[in-house]
């Protein structure tokens, strides 16, 4: 298998050929049809215009069509990090988020949008990929019930506009390189732990996590104002936090790391197994996003688990 005799790069040669070809097609069509010519010359979205920056941000997240559901899916592993021992793969994970966006308009702040969504993530056996019901904690030896992530809703608290409250123009935080564009960022989370007490600044136990997301797509459809919904978006999502409450690790030192890769999907039919069957059977409300005017407070894994544990405790008392 020797390719070293090839001096010029065949792919690049092919590309030149293709672009010459498409140029010929465009020119010959244009000379026949004026309307086609006009369609070819619609201005691209301009990331430096606040209104367009808003549109670009919205396209990376959902659809420009109000109410059109957009589905993202990811899979990977959850790994423990404990000082003094080799990191352990605890679970395979598969997750999905179903989302829609709605348009808003503000006389001062210009056009805006809000996204509303629901999210499921399953903890699977790292070898068989079975959906886990119970898990033997290797550090405590205790068998615990697995509580999967089912967060409803996961919403933008308020719409994002072309101009901020302070008049600051919206910026599109995308990196354009060659034919590609991506957004990449981190959300360091630090707030009162909903499962901890009223004196956290004195005795600790704050909620501490960091979420990291990169989304990749092709620059041409993103910048094309006629494309309302991007058809190809790849994502990578990672997260660090303390132990999940259902692991019953108490105050033990350690971190869990989620490492995943995924993409935008056409429909729930395209979800991988066992997530597709599990969502249809046990999380049917997660097949559609919440309503655009959803006013409920956001659910996080911690608030969700607290409700389950509180309910269990009530049942035990009865």
């Amino acid at each position: 298998m020797k390719y070293s005799a090839i001096t010029t790069h065949p792919r690049r040669r092919f590309r030149y050929f293709l672009s010459t070809l498409s140029m010929t097609v465009v020119l010959s069509l244009a000379s026949h049809a004026g309307s086609a010519e006009k369609a070819q010359r619609v201005a691209q979205l301009d990331p430096s215009r606040p209104e367009d920056a808003l549109t670009l941000t919205r396209k990376m997240n959902c659809s420009l069509e109000d109410g059109r559901p957009v589905l993202h899916w990811w899979k990977g592993t959850m790994i423990s990090r404990v000082p003094g021992e080799r990191d352990r793969v605890l679970f395979n994970i598969q997750g999905m988020n179903i989302r829609q966006c709605g348009s808003f308009n503000d006389p001062k702040r210009g056009p805006g949008f809000r996204s509303v969504s629901r999210e499921v993530m399953l903890f699977l056996d790292p070898v068989t990929n079975e959906v886990l019901k119970r898990w033997t904690n290797p550090w405590t030896g205790e068998e615990v019930e697995v509580i999967h992530v089912a967060n409803d809703p996961v919403n933008m608290r308020s719409p994002m506009f072309a101009y901020g409250i302070d008049g600051k123009p919206a910026q599109f935080r995308g990196t354009f390189v060659k034919d590609k564009v991506w957004t990449s960022g981190e959300a360091p989370l630090w707030y009162d732990n909903p499962m901890a007490g009223d004196y956290q600044e004195y005795v600790g136990n704050n909620y501490q996590a960091i979420e990291m997301l990169s989304s990749f797509t092709d620059a041409a459809p993103l910048l094309d104002p006629n494309v309302k919904t991007l058809s190809s978006v790849g994502i990578s999502w990672t997260r660090l936090s303390g132990w999940l409450p259902w692991m019953k690790m108490g105050g033990r030192v350690g971190t869990v790391v989620y490492s995943t890769v995924g993409k935008r999907l056409e429909s729930v039919d395209d979800l991988s197994e066992p997530l597709r069957t599990e969502v249809r059977s046990n999380y049917p409300t997660y097949l559609t996003p919440p309503p655009i005017d959803d006013a409920r407070p956001n659910e996080t894994s911690w608030t969700y688990i607290k409700k389950i544990i509180d309910q269990r405790r009530l049942n035990e008392k009865k």
Partner: protein, 307 residues
């Protein structure tokens, strides 16, 4: 008019002919040898010795118990790589990559290359030692099959999903003898402990096309969790650093951001080309590089004090 129609016909003829190109052989993501070809097309090239440049950028945070994560640095990284391929009678299609790598720590506000850093926990100002690892090579051939000829299944971490080829979702879990630690790490700790993870996204149509030798538009994400970097002089203090970055394959050095290209020209000129294909040197890591740096500094200091 006739001429124009002729031109249009010719165009249609060419377009009509195009699908016969597309019928050419496709790589099969379920085939163990083709899985290696896909990796080679993404990481380097099926053309042996063709240099491949990747670049990525992002942020580095601290994670310390009892306080919010802090953004410590912006980072810019690059890797220049080349590969060898061979067909082995038992192990199938194989490749070995050789590369060099630089990662720069930038001031998070100005974006300038950081030279000194005031450690906010100790209050001490320290020299920033950037990553410059030469070489970062595959230790051995990576092949489609093991030494008994049994196919190695990589489909859990590299697979086609609709229009994309995706790679990732796992992590390299590193836990080995710390080159900066002593001889009794099993007893008193100090082991090197880090996790690295990455993803790649590629157009399935492009990467599966068997006549194509490399993928121009591969994008990637890279992240890492480790203890404090040695140059931070954090000693035994608890805490982690977390990297999150995204990037892609570049056509050449002119596409690097100015800050990185300038720094390479000034301080890392050997990183404009990959190491030789038969490079047999042991790999360099940030920890081994730092050890050489600090050992050199100590020698210089003791030399001075003797005078």
């Amino acid at each position: 008019m006739i001429k124009r129609i002729g031109c249009l016909l010719l165009t249609l003829l060419i377009i009509g002919a195009a699908p016969s190109f597309a019928k050419d052989r496709k790589l099969d993501p379920a085939n163990p040898d083709d899985q290696i070809r896909l990796q080679v097309k993404i990481f380097c090239s099926l053309v042996e010795g063709r240099p491949t440049l990747y670049w990525w950028s992002g942020n580095m945070y601290s994670r310390v118990a009892g306080e919010p994560h802090r953004l410590l640095f912006k980072v810019h990284g690059m890797n220049i790589r080349q590969c060898r391929t061979r067909q082995d009678p038992v192990r199938g299609f194989c490749y070995r990559s050789v590369s060099r790598e630089v990662l720069l720590y930038l001031d998070p506000l100005t974006g300038d290359v950081a030279r000194k850093w005031k450690n906010p926990w100790t209050g001490k100002e320290v020299d920033v030692v950037h990553v410059a690892n030469d070489p970062v090579n595959a230790r051995d051939w990576i092949c489609g099959r093991d030494k008994d000829g049994k196919p190695i299944d990589r489909s859990e971490s590299m697979f086609v999903k609709d229009e994309l080829l995706l790679e990732g979702g796992g992590a390299a879990r590193l836990f080995y003898k710390n080159p900066l630690g002593g001889e009794y790490q099993d007893y008193i700790g100090g082991t090197y402990h880090a996790m690295e993870y990455g993803t790649t996204h590629a157009s399935a149509a492009e990467v599966l096309d068997a006549k194509d030798t490399e993928l121009e538009n591969a994008v990637l994400s890279w992240g890492r969790v480790s203890r404090w970097l040695p140059w931070m002089e954090m000693g035994d203090r608890d805490g982690l650093v977390v990297f999150n970055t995204a990037g892609m394959r570049l056509d050449g050095y002119e596409q690097l951001p100015d800050v990185m290209r300038r720094e390479l020209q000034t301080n890392y000129p050997s990183y404009f080309a990959p190491p030789p294909l038969d490079d047999a040197r042991p790999n360099e890591t940030s920890w081994t590089v730092f050890k050489k740096y600090i050992d050199g500094k100590r020698t210089a200091t003791s030399g001075n004090s003797e005078k």
